[in-house]
Symmetry: C2
Subunit: 235 residues, 2 copies
């Protein structure tokens, strides 16, 4: 009706605008909502127009991840290696938590963009500056693994219950009984973590605590190796 195409209204496209729109869209509707066609429509352009700014969909995703990495806080001054690495990784975690799609996007990317390399280089530099040998630095970076991006795989998380209605109390009890038979240890550790509250079997632990638990365990291990004068392949 009153609606009509108004081509003059649309802001000029740029790589930055494409990427920021994609990030906002993924923030709001998940990574599954990112398609070249859908994004083009949101930007009021023909799909093909995006290819002027990103080579293909993979590069779009790489660029989105780069934007998240650029949100990481710059390294703070005056910290030793351990406090420095810890604070940087926790800063990465805050950024990744702001963009829930980023975890899977980071895991599935294989290209190492300059932004990715820059962050990894700077973290490696923190270890080197703390007196770690190049060898030991290499191994501890691998040991941290994806934790450098601020996340641990969500081992116990439930499937996001989008569609399923919550079970009735009876169903819940029957499920719990069968679960207790088949997976007694999982039930036990899930109850330990949630003080007995089992709304959604296995879910609901304090993920932030688990992340810091593992991070500190690793950092303490690294410290011990370095103090012991670790060289090459021991044993």
């Amino acid at each position: 009706m009153a609606e009509q195409s108004e081509p003059t209204r649309r802001a000029p496209l740029s790589r930055d605008r494409v990427l920021r729109t994609a990030v906002a869209r993924a923030d709001a509707a998940g990574i599954g909502s990112i398609s070249m066609r859908g994004l083009a429509q949101e930007l009021g352009v023909v799909p093909m127009a995006l290819y002027k700014h990103v080579a293909n969909k993979d590069e779009l995703l790489d660029g989105m991840v780069d934007l998240v990495i650029e949100e990481f806080d710059p390294p703070a001054d005056g910290l030793d290696w351990k406090a420095g690495v810890r604070s940087r990784v926790l800063s990465a975690r805050r950024a990744v938590l702001r963009h829930p799609w980023a975890r899977l996007a980071i895991e599935s990317r294989t290209r190492r963009t300059p932004t990715v390399l820059g962050y990894m280089d700077s973290l490696a530099g923190a270890f080197r500056g703390g007196g770690f040998s190049a060898h030991l630095t290499h191994h501890v970076m691998h040991a941290l693994g994806n934790r450098i991006w601020g996340f641990t795989p969500e081992l116990f998380d439930e499937p996001r219950g989008d569609d399923a209605l919550p079970p009735t109390a009876e169903e819940q009890e029957a499920m719990a009984r069968e679960f207790a038979q088949r997976y007694p240890h999982i039930l036990e550790i899930a109850m330990a973590a949630t003080d007995g509250d089992l709304s959604g079997v296995g879910g609901g632990c304090d993920e932030q605590f688990e992340f810091e638990f593992a991070l500190d365990l690793l950092l303490d291990g690294f410290e011990r190796l370095q103090r012991q004068g670790w060289v090459r392949r021991p044993g």
Copy 2:
């Protein structure tokens, strides 16, 4: 020309046959080659026929991952918790290495099938049997993270160079020079890991060693916590 449709020839479909065909296809051509339509064609049936055996594509992928988990060796007798967990995780790793697509598939799955839960329960049981409290068991499972499946994220791996031709010696030197300027620490630790051989910047380290380095570091840390009588949230 002699070719003709021979519907009587095709073996009867079953969930198992669908899943095993999908695994073989993914082994040969990667996870990207898995589509309901392509798989149906390989099985000589109409796409819709698959939906009799798997509810949808997600369930297909879950079933494929289950088949990989079923390849894990059963727990060995007579090992203490540490040797037991170590050998089971290394067995998981061997299975996952046999199916290169499994790593990404496992990371992207959110559903916990009975097979997945059974493996996790049995690993948790190993810690409990070794005298770990339910709380500590919960935290160490999270600390292991995806390492329970036998892989660490491939932090430094290069993009699989399918398309790009190998660079000339000159190009390689120019790239190396720029890389050394921008990412000195990555260069340093990459050279440390490969004894100076840099064919493909950052690649080619001993992934198996890195995996065991991190695994043992974690297991040692767990042992120390347990011996110290770790309770709830220290500090």
